[in-house]
Structures are given as C-alpha cells and as structure tokens.
C-alpha cells in the first residue's frame, strides 16, 4: 500500500489536469486551429496540383497536335521522319512511334502498350535515358495503319509539388499546434482569471467581509453581466443580513432595557423593602416592566402573522367614518393633554377588512403623530373615495421625516434618532404597512410642508355590496355590550 501513493498521486494530478477547464480549452483551441490550418493547406494544395496537372496536360495536347499536323497524315510513313527529327535535338518531350507489331520505330523511350488517350507512366525502365524514376504524363494515338504514337512530358514538378505540400503540412501542423496551445493558454488564463476573481470575492465574503463585490472589467461582456447579477444578489443578501442583524441587535437592546430595569427593581426591593406592601409594590412594578418586554414580542409575532397573511374570512365591511370617529374619540383626550388639535375632516368609503386590525393601523398613525409632534401641533385625519380606491390621510405639522428616511422607517425596529426619547418599539409603522398590504392597500409618507403626511390607499367596496350582510357595528360595541 505504502508504495502506491506517489503513483496514485501522480495519476490524480494528471486526472486533475485533464479534467481542468484550462486543459480542455487548450486542447480544443489547439485542435481546432490545427484542423482548420490543415484544411486550408489541403485545399490550396489540391488547387495548385490541379492547376499544374492542367498545365501539363495542355502542353502535351499542344505538342501532340503540333506533331500530328507536322506529319500531315496519321500513319507511320508520314510520322517517322518528324519524330526522328524531334528526338535528335534533346527534346523537352518524350516521343515514341511503334509499328503494329509493337516494335519501336523512333523515339526516346521504351516500348508501350498501344493505348489511346492520356496516361500516366511512372516506370523508370520505360525511359532509356536521363533520370531513372521520373513520372511521365502523355497521350497516345493509335494510327490508321496500326502503328502507335505517344508524346509525353516530364511530370516531376507535380511530384515535387505533392512533396512540398506534405512538408508544409507537417511544419504548419507543428506551428499551429504551438500557436494553438499558446492561444489556448492565454484564452484560458483570461477566463480563469475572471473566474478566479469571482471566486476570491466569494472567499472574502465567506471569511466575513460581506461588503466585498466582484470587480467589473468594463468590457460589458458575459463576465461583467455575471458579475452584475452576482453583485445584485450580494447587495440583496447584505441588506437582508444587515436588517436581520439590526433586528437581532434591536431585540437584544429593547429586551435588555426592561429586563435590566426589572432586575434592578427586584434587587433593590429584596435589599430595601421590609414590608409586604413594599414588596407588593415592587413586584407590581416588575410586572409592568416585564409586560413591556413581552409586548415587543407580541407585536413582533403579530407582525409576522399579518405579513404571512391571515384568513380572509375574518374580513367584514368596515365603514371608514365610524372607524375614524372611533380612533379620534380614543385619542382626543391624550392629544388635548398635549394641547394638540386632533381634527377629523370628512371621511367616507367602506373597505373589506378586519376591524380590529384597521383600527390598529389608524391608531398607530394617530399615536405616532401625537407622540412625535411637539405640544400645540395640529393633527388631521381626512379621507375619501377616489374611484375604486379609498384614501385615508393622517397628517401633522410637526418636524416630519426626512425624505431619505421615509422608506426606512417602515422597517422593523427602525427608530429615527430624534425619536429615541419617545416610548415605542419601532414596530408601529411596520405593522401599519403590513396591515395596509394585508388589505390590498399601500401606505406612503410625504411632506406635509411642514410635517408628515401618511396616505393609506385601500380598495373601496361599493356600499350596495355591504348591505345584505349588514354593516358591522362600530368596533366599540364589543360582545360585552
């Protein structure tokens, strides 16, 4: 066993290389480059060869025609002197004239089988002199008196061409191979560098730096697109993580305050109190503190439940004028204690909804206005029907909310710095939005110049629909009435 690991390691290393993207890119790149190079060389070689063959044929045909015309008639008698004369002067062509029995009468080559038409000769021994193994192309004519005439030409340029093409092919194959591997390496390096950039970013994010983003090359290519998508995802994740972190921090913070107060009170009581009334008072205070903490959980759970959607069969027609009057009545004394004017304008319209949740929604908005505006402020509730929508507007003339925070305040536990001193869980507006959405509506915050303007838009239901079931009693008339 012990002797194997190195070999196995090498095999594994090879397997790793072979399976790597880089290797595959290089092989593919080089392979295709070589293949296309071969194709080009092959095609151009074939073309050259064909044109050379054409030239050779042309020359032979021309020479044959010339000899025949010089002889005048196609018989041995006429042709013999012409060919003898041609052979005498070391011609560039090969000539042969045989009689019907196959005996050579004239020419500079050996005996041939009398076959008419173009033919290739490559037998060296058919040539009486000169190079031993040159190929010859020629044309034969069987004469009228049974004789045979042949004229041919040295075709070795064709062979040289073929040889050259083969050589070029081998060398360029090597060249293309080198180029292909080089190009493949460069290509894969470029791609892998981009992938590695993404991977490095991912590792940095995993090691804790969630603000890391994948850099763009500015080429607007597929990698930039990928980086863009991934960055958008990371952005979203970071936001979610941040809000989660914020929520857990805030829960911890908001819980610690009442709980540490509670602890202090109980500790103080156990040290300082000596009467049962004193203990009772301390315990009662402790219960109040504890209730505050529990209330935060309660609101959180209710928020999740509402955001998750509740059964719509709890929905009944709710008249907004009754709802508004109810909430105004509830908060008017508290507002008056702060010398705030709580003014209810004309409100109309009916929505399908959960009466208690709708009341909580409006109450939270009014409560916010009361708690977050100074004494002497003016708070108005207005509303009306606009087509198939109902609007409900709670506005004040306090300090308002800066435009850049108007979305943020809907998030859980978000409390603007200046309202830290006001009691609250930071869940109120989250609940308001969740309730509005549950009823198919929206809430937007805007500038009331000065102050804050909260506009809730809900789907309106036509009054005729509400009549058969009867209007729900004002929420105040609970089952105990």
């Amino acid at each position: 066993m012990a002797a194997f690991p190195p070999a196995r390691g090498r095999a594994a290393a090879i397997a790793r290389v072979v399976s790597s993207l880089s290797f595959r890119i290089v092989i593919l790149f080089a392979g295709f480059l070589m293949l296309s190079g071969m194709l080009v060389i092959l095609l151009s070689g074939l073309h050259s060869q064909r044109s050379l063959q054409g030239q050779i044929r042309h020359a032979v045909t021309a020479e044959r025609a010339e000899v025949l015309s010089a002889a005048g008639r196609q018989d041995i008698g006429h042709m013999l002197p012409v060919i003898r004369n041609l052979v005498r002067n070391e011609p560039a062509f090969f000539y042969l004239l045989q009689d019907a029995s196959g005996a050579i009468l004239a020419g500079n080559m050996l005996h041939l089988r009398p076959v008419s038409g173009g033919r290739w000769l490559s037998w060296a021994h058919r040539l009486p002199f000169g190079a031993n193994d040159i190929p010859v192309y020629g044309e034969g004519v069987v004469l009228a008196d049974g004789g045979y005439f042949f004229v041919g030409i040295d075709a070795s340029p064709l062979r040289r061409l073929r040889h050259d093409i083969r050589a070029i092919m081998i060398w360029s194959l090597c060249g293309f191979c080198v180029l292909g591997i080089g190009g493949g390496l460069i290509l894969s390096a470029v791609i892998l560098r981009r992938i590695e950039t993404i991977s490095v970013t991912a590792r940095r994010i995993m090691s804790g730096d969630i603000s890391q983003r994948i850099p763009y090359q500015g080429t607007d290519d597929e990698f930039d697109h990928l980086a863009h998508s991934l960055n958008a995802m990371l952005e979203q994740n970071e936001r979610l993580i941040a809000s989660l972190r914020q929520v857990s921090n805030d829960i911890a913070h908001d819980m610690r305050r009442p709980l540490s107060h509670l602890r202090q009170r109980l500790e103080t009581a156990s040290l300082a109190e000596h009467t049962s009334d004193g203990f009772r008072a301390a315990i009662d205070d402790a219960v109040v503190e504890l209730d505050l903490a529990l209330e935060i959980f309660s609101s959180l759970l209710r928020l999740s439940r509402i955001e998750g959607g509740i059964a719509t069969d709890t929905m009944v027609p709710v008249a907004l004028d009754t709802l508004t009057a109810q909430v105004a009545e509830l908060y008017r004394p508290a507002a008056e204690d702060r010398h705030q004017a709580l003014i209810v304008g004309p409100v109309s319209g009916t929505v399908d909804g959960d009466p208690v949740l709708l009341m909580q929604m409006l109450s939270n908005l009014v409560e916010n206005a009361i708690n977050h505006t100074p004494n002497g402020s003016r708070i108005t509730i207005d509303g009306g029907v606009d087509g198939d929508r109902v609007t409900l507007v709670v506005a004040d003339n306090g300090a308002g909310i800066p435009a850049d925070s108007r979305e943020r305040v809907f998030h859980r536990f978000v409390r603007l710095d200046r309202s830290r001193s006001v009691p609250g869980s930071g869940l109120g507006l989250s609940l308001v939005r969740a309730i509005a959405r549950l009823h198919g509506g929206t809430i937007t915050l805007s500038d009331n110049r000065p102050g804050l303007r909260c506009t809730v838009v809900l789907p309106h239901i036509a009054l005729s629909e509400t009549l058969p079931g009867g209007m729900r009693n004002p929420p105040g008339n609970s089952q105990e009435a």
Binding site: R280, A281, I283, D284, D285, V287, V288, L294, E295, F297, S298, S299, L301, R302, S304, R305, I306, I310, A311, T314, Q326, E329, L330, Y331, P333, A334, E336, D337, D354, P355, V356, L357, M359, Q360, S363, E367, I370, N371, P423, G424, S425, G428, P475, G476, N477, S478, Q479, E480
Partner: protein
C-alpha cells in the same frame, strides 16, 4: 355582589402544567375551585360531564384543539361562559374564538388577577344585575335606558364613551379592571397602545364625577382601576 363565591366551579383545559398550577393557585385566593384537564379529549368530556360556572379553554391542546372543543360545546347546547386563551399573535384565533361562541378571550401570557377580573365580569353578566335599568354606586346613578348620569340628583354631562366606561365600572364595582380590559371593552382595542389614552380618559371621567373622583375610581399600580364606594369600606388589592 362580586359574583365570585366559594361555589364557583371552573374548568381549565390547559396542557401546560405550570400555567395550570399558576391559574389554580391564583384563583384559589378568589375562592374559585379550579378543575384541570390537561388535554383536549378529556377537556371536552369533562366540560360536557357536569355544569360549570366558567370554562377556560386553551387554544392549542393535545388531542383536540380549543376551537373544536368550543364548537362541540356550543353544538351540544352548553351555555357555560367560556374564556378562550390565545397566543400573542393569534389574530385569527381571537376572531375564530369569538365567532365560535367564546364569551371572552385572553392573550397569553396573562396575569391571573386579570383572568379573575374577567371571570368576575363574566359571571355578573349572566347574574341578576343583567336586567336592571339603573346602576347605583356612591350616590351616582346611571340610567341605563336614557344613558344619563346623575350624582346626588345633579346631572353630569358625559360623552357616550365615558358613559360606557362608567357603566363598566358600575357593573363591576370592587373589581380591578385592567387597562387591557378597558381598552377592549370600550374601544375594542386589543393591541398595545403607547399613549396614556386610558389614563386620560379615566382622569376626565374622574374630574366630571366630582372632587372625590380619585377615591371613587382608584388606580391600582400595575393592575388597573377599581371602582370603590368609599362608604362601604375597602377590599384588599390584588
């Protein structure tokens, strides 16, 4: 006239032993005998087995859930007052509980004295004071038909909502009514409010009732408010 006596028999259907013991011990002080069923199936058979003055049903139970027990009880013709215990987020179970025929509901975690107060209020509702036409406490007379309030013969002008709160107090004298109960009864509010709305309403009502309004409707720290006829003496708090 508290409506709570030694004979009050209460069935608690609750699977959590700690909560059950807490309720049993807490209500023992009020003279209420608590019988505990720790699962839904037993709860239903015990509820049907005999007459109960009050039944307290938890929402989530092994065997059979509170809502089903409630429905079965009402189908079987039981008219015992039922208080439904829901979880903190139980928006739909609150509605479901009331629709299913519960008389009141209480959100967990709750204080046992709040449960006691709600039981007292419930028992009075089915008691003899149901059909009176006027309520009288410490010289205050509330005419239930005309919705008019007089004190020692002098008319006091109150807002309709203030009359409603006063009626709640006068129907339940010597009973500590919590902030939540007042919010729930007078305004149907069952969500946390961050404004001292109950306090301001009570303080207005006290002012209108006269110089001794503060003695008449007393604040019990950490618990709520109680109406006491000072002429009749006092009961211990809690």
């Amino acid at each position: 006239m508290t409506g709570i006596g030694a004979t009050t028999r209460l069935l608690l259907v609750e699977d959590d032993p700690d909560t059950a013991a807490y309720v049993r011990d807490g209500l023992a002080h009020e003279g209420i005998a608590v019988t505990i069923a720790d699962n839904g199936t037993d709860g239903l058979s015990m509820a049907l087995g005999r007459e109960w003055d009050v039944i307290v049903l938890d929402r989530m139970l092994p065997g059979m859930d509170g809502l089903s027990i409630l429905t079965r009880l009402r189908e079987a013709g039981s008219r015992a007052p039922i208080i439904f215990l829901t979880t903190m987020d139980g928006v739909s179970s609150r509605v479901g509980g009331l629709r299913g025929g519960a008389d009141d509901y209480l959100v967990k975690p709750f204080a046992v004295r709040e449960l006691a107060a709600r039981i007292a209020v419930l028992l009075r509702r089915v008691g003899p004071m149901r059909h009176v036409t006027a309520l009288r406490v410490a010289g205050i007379v509330l005419d239930l038909l005309r919705r008019e309030v007089t004190r020692d013969g002098e008319k006091i002008l109150l807002q309709p909502q203030e009359v409603k709160i006063l009626e709640y107090f006068m129907r339940n004298p010597e009973t500590i009514l919590s902030r939540q109960m007042l919010l729930h009864y007078a305004w149907n509010v069952d969500f946390p409010v961050r404004t001292n709305i109950v306090e301001t309403h009570i303080s207005r009502l006290r002012d209108k009732l006269g110089h001794d309004g503060r003695q008449l409707i007393q604040t019990i720290r950490g618990a709520g408010y109680v109406m006491r006829d000072s002429d009749l003496g006092s009961i211990p708090t809690g």
